[in-house]
Symmetry: C3
Subunit: 263 residues, 3 copies
């Protein structure tokens, strides 16, 4: 596959505004720095009309919603829409509680997203499909995930990335699958949250080509995971550290040589 | 010693609801994943009547209380009691401020705990003993800690685990000491918080045998620490990473062979 | 150079009260423990009249302000002033939003700081100089940073540390530069926040000698970074872990031998 956007991230060093959870905050910031982007973490409602204006993309992650974060997310999302930067939604554990479902319903109604990135259980919940999610983990179900990705992409006019053993990317008309990765990803907390942040960095430099930028982001990230997993002498603590190393070491050539996509 | 519960954790993959602090959130989630359990971190008062209902245990950790977290803890604790899942209390730094003392007093009055896990200073404060705690660290005192564990266990009808160079477990009638571990534990922040979360995973699969499940949890965790410490080439940064590795690598056989308990 | 304070930290194990952000909380706590100090993280307004009274220094870091944290910072700062412990200000991303600017203006008006520690962009913003900051990163500008450090130090009657490729320390009459360090520092999130916490530990044992304590703190920290960087087999994930190792391994002799200061 081609690599168009990684080099642009290293050149432009985009500022990524993250409204994220207390589990992922440090890991997401370090992952963005390793990749070559610049993180700014703020969920403060007092800043949500300003931070998106100095940023090149926004990530809204509902992992540990508290206090006025829901209102802050709505305000930041609307500001980001007004200034025209891409917004990524990570609907962490949306099926787990009515408050999460209601938050996602409201966000999807009031903010235009460039990308929704979640696991199978989260996207099935958004699509209204039967699924047995397990807290914030993917869980199990019999749904056709490609159809789910297409349906959600069409309904919200955005790109959708469903993460799993095979990753699925769809914009409602084109759908591709990615066959890179490692079973260690779900063993490290916030590895999905970091992927959402990584996607935001790729969207930030994509000039509106969200489908191909998401595809490259996901291939890049899962290759970094693959290489990190291959280098481990012990599991699984080291994986989170080695993943940061491999995000920093990624090159366009590696993406071209190792990317395994079916379009 | 026997190992009964570790295999059940790997089989049942229990969902553990953690109301925890901003220092421990990531480390506790990664530790639970490494062990074979599934973490869900939420301190959102809007979710406290739902998350315990889908979880197999609840941890209440007062390390960085803020906003409405105290009310959230009370609500989650009562919900957990109503549905019958075990609740673990980690009274971080309870002796340090009147707000922490008052929070713990209220929690102990309104929620039935299966286990209270803390350091010597924290348990001495709950028992009302003289003790020179140091912020959230154990500090120094001349108290008979076995007597403290028994007294608190009897008063609140629960199991008590006092962590230290020697760990003490009591349910008020039986008391045991654990002689595994490493002096590196207090050099890594949130290593006590993670132990509380690990205990919750063991209690979750124990069918009410909280004393023996706490014993196995503490032996398992301190053996993982022992092995992590032995493998270090440099100290102490690597310890937190290697501890996750060793939690993942633990086997019932290792617990049986290396567990050092006096009952 | 001399090393006066590192040995005192190991002897006295000062308790450092940190009001810090969700990105830095874990890393700062582990860094303080590695160094030999004792961290207590609390931003709870209900505790701000008590925690400074049991602490030997206070760090106020505005990285991810939320809820009532601004009021908590003011209250903690005033309490710390009343009991006479040193207060360190880390004005994270102060140029990025009006809320951050207003918070810093209010803190500087109502709290007496022993030290302000930030990057070039943050100190330029406080000095009122033209600067192109980038979110919470330093950014670029043409300002004479020594003059900025001196101006801010004089205006607020405190010591100022501007971190960068060359670090600048000034108390308004004396100014020194530090030539240790590694380009990896800005690649790891919260490495500036941890430096502020490390400075607080040195100030805590300095008996009011804030200029020389800041100088030793910064030399110690940047040498630890230098040694960590030299030992890496892969970058940059390992750096955060190795930095903790090297903070633990620091000796007065290493500071004396490797410190590179121009006074």
């Amino acid at each position: 596959m081609q690599s168009i956007y990684l080099a642009k991230i290293r050149e432009q060093n985009p500022l990524i505004h993250n409204i994220t959870n207390i589990v992922a905050a440090n890991f997401s910031a370090n992952g963005l720095l390793a990749l070559g982007a610049s993180p700014l973490m703020s969920a403060n409602i007092e800043e949500m009309q300003e931070v998106p204006k100095i940023s090149q993309a926004l990530v809204i992650n509902i992992g540990t919603l508290i206090g006025k974060e829901r209102e802050a997310m709505l305000l930041a999302g609307k500001t980001a829409n007004a200034v025209g930067i891409p917004v990524v939604l990570d609907p962490v554990g949306v099926g787990a509680t009515s408050y999460r479902r209601e938050t996602i319903r409201e966000l999807l109604a009031e903010v235009k997203f460039a990308l929704i990135r979640g696991n199978a259980g989260e996207l099935a919940a958004i699509a209204g499909e039967e699924w047995q999610a397990k807290g914030v983990d993917a869980g199990l179900g019999e749904v056709d995930l490609k159809a789910v990705a297409e349906k959600v992409a069409q309904r919200y006019g955005c790109t959708v990335l469903i993460s799993g053993a095979v990753d699925i990317v769809s914009d409602g008309t084109q759908t591709a699958t990615i066959h890179n990765g490692t079973p260690l990803f779900p063993k490290v907390t916030a590895s999905g949250c970091l992927l959402s942040a990584v996607c935001a960095a790729f969207l930030a430099v994509s000039e509106g080509n969200y489908f191909s930028a998401t595809l490259e982001a996901c291939v890049a990230y899962t290759i970094a995971g693959e290489r990190a997993a291959q280098s481990l002498t012990t599991q699984v603590g080291q994986f989170q550290i080695r993943l940061l190393d491999e995000l920093a070491a990624l090159s366009p050539e590696t993406i071209r040589q190792r990317g395994r996509i079916n379009e």
